[in-house]
């Protein structure tokens, strides 16, 4: 039997990079085929090529033995290929039903037939086991629900091959479980799934075959059963990952840098108290919405309604704006680096000096030379890989973008660094690199406040971990006691013997 998809000699160039180079492999019909690799390895590019969202520069794609050429998503859909995107790929201003029927609105005499549309939407949703009201506006839906609508649309269009682009990246554990179940049902119906991801557990759980891409080149395609996690990571990054997590926490903690007591913001968090010493990494654990980011933003002067006592090196301070925070040596690497962290079209150097541009200026005249020197210095210390200080931030990889924001606050002279999900969306190698930097920061006498939803990361990096639930601190766990299970129980509010709350 001909493979469902056969890639041959696929090449795709972008300005400045070759995203894919001579990639060739087969996807067996009815299989769940993982495409994995680090960020920038070209895995999403490959999915988009198949779904007709971008066009290839060279090579051929065959479906069931016949060569196809999709110049746009509509052609791909007609050929039986659909893609479920990471981000919302639907019209947020329309209802679920309208989105599901976008391509072919049921109409009578040029007027949309609403009952027919709702009925079709209900059928499509039912087909994928989604219990959603078709009349709801898309913008009201959670990410998981939006994904369901995308899948319903894909299945409804008769797609035999569906590309999933990192589908679980913004799903909760429970939501991911239902997605896995749905994938199982799709497979049972003979749908071929191309699963783009770099998350180890789900690849091993879901996929029959795995293809590894590295720097745009095809590395291997093998049955998943022949690999283990360690080997797969090695294939992805092309070297042995010496130590996944650094083993810091050597030196004794120094002076108290930050002390917070009774920090409260009605509706967000209540009575949060803690202290942070030099050389410490204080982890914040909690479910999404537990108030961790909100506390960090309040400490950074971004929440005018927060009240409570904040002391910086023993001195009572009032932080009413990020400028105050900077003055007191507090920096924040925010959760969403593209929206909150960086001005993407601006140069790397300009982004580094953004908060303290007046300091690299003499009587308001910026000194580009001083900016470059400062940027080069911090890029060197943090091992930021950029072709120069003049590249636009949009061109840097995720890990390097994250380090750039970190470099900014270090260059500003911050001693307290609040890192909100610093490794979200960065690839395996860059993650290990960021962990090493965080470890180094603490060793250099900074105080680090680490917010992360990845428990292994928190457990391995933190000196102590504060657990948040519904806007309150419900426990403090020392490094030696911290286990994933204990933290999970505290976060979810389940009874636990070891809880110290």
């Amino acid at each position: 039997m001909a493979p469902a998809v056969r890639f041959t000699g696929i090449t795709k160039r972008y300005p400045g990079v070759v995203a894919l180079h001579d990639v060739a492999f087969d996807v067996a019909a009815g299989s769940c085929h993982a495409v994995c690799g680090e960020n920038g390895a070209g895995k999403s590019t490959l999915g988009k090529l198949l779904a007709g969202i971008i066009t290839r520069d060279a090579g051929t794609i065959e479906l069931d033995g016949r060569e196809v050429r999709f110049d746009d998503p509509a052609a791909a859909l007609a050929g039986g290929v659909a893609m479920v995107h990471q981000e919302l790929a639907l019209c947020a201003n329309l209802t679920v039903a309208e989105n599901l029927c976008l391509g072919r609105m049921p109409s009578r005499g040029g007027f949309v037939s609403w009952p027919a549309m709702r009925e079709r939407a209900r059928v499509l949703l039912g087909d994928v086991g989604a219990n959603l009201d078709p009349a709801r506006p898309m913008s009201d839906l959670s990410v998981a629900e939006q994904q369901l609508v995308q899948i319903a649309a894909a299945v409804g269009s008769g797609a035999r091959i569906i590309v999933f682009d990192e589908p679980t990246s913004s799903l909760s554990e429970g939501e991911a479980e239902s997605l896995y179940a749905l994938l199982g049902r799709l497979k049972a119906r003979g749908v071929t799934v191309l699963y783009v991801s770099h998350r180890m557990p789900e690849i091993f759980r879901l996929c029959d075959t795995v293809t590894v891409l590295r720097d745009g080149a095809h590395v291997t395609t093998v049955p998943t059963a022949t690999l283990d996690e360690r080997e797969l990571v090695r294939q992805m990054i092309g070297r042995e990952l010496g130590q996944y997590f650094p083993s810091h926490v050597g030196g004794a903690p120094g002076e108290e840098l930050l002390s917070v007591s009774g920090l409260t913001r009605p509706g967000r968090f209540r009575d949060v108290s803690f202290s942070l010493r030099a050389g410490e990494v204080l982890g914040f654990a909690g479910l999404v919405g537990a108030g961790r980011s909100e506390v960090a933003e309040a400490l950074f002067g971004l929440d005018a309604r927060a009240t409570g006592e904040v002391r910086v090196r023993g001195e009572l301070v009032r932080i009413g704006s990020p400028r105050d925070a900077m003055k007191h040596g507090i920096g924040l690497v925010p959760e969403d680096r593209k929206v909150q962290g960086l001005v993407l079209p601006m140069k790397a150097r300009e982004n580094v000096t953004l908060p303290f541009a007046d300091r690299v200026a003499r009587r308001t005249w910026m000194s580009h030379a001083a900016e470059k020197a400062l940027t080069t210095e911090w890029f060197g210390r943090l091992k930021v890989r950029a072709s120069s200080t003049e590249v636009a931030c949009a061109e840097l990889s995720g890990g390097n973008q994250q380090k750039l924001v970190l470099a900014r606050w270090l260059a500003a002279g911050s001693r307290v660094l609040m890192l909100d999900e610093p490794t979200r969306g960065v690839d395996v190698g860059a993650k290990a690199e960021l962990h090493a930097r965080i470890d180094q920061l603490a060793a250099d006498g900074h105080g680090v406040l680490l917010i992360s939803s990845e428990l292994p990361e928190l457990i391995n990096l933190s000196t102590r971990i504060l657990v948040f639930r519904n806007g309150r601190v419900v426990g403090e766990v020392a490094r030696v006691e911290a286990t994933q299970e204990l933290l999970m129980r505290l976060m979810a509010g389940l009874p636990s013997h070891a809880a110290t709350a």
Partner: protein, 361 residues
């Protein structure tokens, strides 16, 4: 490992820097259009010397074009700053009119005045009125959190109406001392007035320096590029956005002073519709209406292009009734060419970058 030393290209750097500059496309268009007009315009004999003079490429026409372009360019630099910040200012034409008539009325009421005092008082009045207008625009845009298109559309009519009511729609003469300054020959021949040209150059230089070199200019780009990240970096986003409307209005006030002084009078219908010429100058100059991108020099070149097209219609004796159709079409074409050209250059640069051994990444 972060910054490999930038490759040294000493000799051909000036030419290639020009070719790579964001203004290259616009300059090329200006040169081609200018050469075409020179070629097509024909020539006439100088009544005094009998020498042959090109109908387009002569000092009088060029200075006249610079004078026409100067008001668009001065305001265009201000508009560019607003557009870079992610906003828009449609009220500049009305600010121009209000500043002009207010100055004329103040000077008329204060007459007779010493020439130097008249000039100083006139300029101060224009700038003060425009400052007030800019602050009002800025406070409303920031404080009411309404889109600047709507706020400045509103103030455009309100300020125009205010100019109309206060001046009772009269055309008010300004003292000759102002005209003497605006039309100072500065050693050039008779009927050649270089002052508007010089003011245009000065404003362009100041605007370019402001945007490229000052802390405030950097902040304007940041706020336009990503207001949320700017807030997280501790920038006073509201203050910065207020500031750009003040600068835009001040530019309109300066243009009003120059215009009233040059033409010798001011009325409430001055600069009617200029806001669109000004936005067009900025946009033809490559400013992005979504913010974060633009240049003062480009805005001036954009203004010159628009004026050159207008001048071309006159020089070639085309039917002037078609002027708007031609300008409108040319504006769309210019922007399309500019975008395509930029993309083409980016692709070529990308290919070169790939061809060369790539930098560590």
């Amino acid at each position: 490992m972060t910054t490999p030393p930038t490759p040294n290209v000493p000799a051909r750097s000036a030419a290639s820097a020009l070719a790579r500059s964001p203004q290259a496309g616009l300059l090329a268009v200006l040169l081609v259009l200018g050469a075409g007009l020179t070629f097509a315009a024909g020539s006439h004999a100088d009544p005094l010397t009998g020498a042959s003079i090109n109908n387009f490429l002569n000092v009088h026409t060029l200075i006249q074009m610079a004078t026409d372009a100067s008001s668009f360019a001065i305001m265009g630099v201000g508009a560019t700053i607003v557009i870079i910040s992610g906003g828009i200012d449609l009220s500049v034409g009305a600010v121009y009119a209000l500043a002009g008539v207010t100055m004329a009325m103040v000077l008329r009421a204060a007459a007779p005045l010493d020439p130097a005092v008249a000039v100083a008082l006139g300029l101060a009045t224009c700038l003060l009125v425009s400052l007030a207008c800019g602050v009002a625009n800025g406070i409303m845009v920031v404080g009411l959190d309404v889109h600047p298109f709507i706020i400045t559309l509103g103030t455009m009519w309100m300020l125009r109406g205010l100019a109309f009511v206060t001046s009772k729609a009269e055309s008010i003469l300004v003292p000759s001392a102002l005209t003497a300054v605006a039309k100072a020959p500065l050693g050039l021949g008779t009927a050649l007035y270089p002052v508007p040209l010089l003011v245009m150059i000065a404003v362009t230089v100041v605007g370019t320096a402001y945007l490229a070199r000052t802390v405030m200019g950097r902040h304007v780009f940041a706020v336009g590029g990503n207001p949320e990240a700017s807030r997280f970096a501790g920038l006073h986003v509201g203050r910065i956005r207020l500031g750009v409307y003040v600068l835009s209005s001040l530019a309109a006030g300066l243009a009003a002073f120059m215009g009233a002084a040059f033409y010798g009078s001011a009325t409430s219908s001055d600069a009617n519709g200029y806001e669109l010429y000004v936005v067009a100058s900025a946009v033809v100059g490559g400013a992005s209406l979504s913010g974060g991108k633009g240049s003062a020099l480009s805005a001036t070149l954009g203004a010159i292009l628009i004026v050159m097209i207008r001048q071309g219609i006159r020089t070639l004796h085309l039917d002037q009734n078609y002027e708007w159709i031609i300008i409108g079409g040319a504006m769309v074409l210019a922007v399309v060419f500019d975008q395509r050209g930029t993309r083409w250059l980016a692709r070529r640069a990308a290919k070169n970058a790939v061809a060369r051994p790539s930098s560590p990444q």
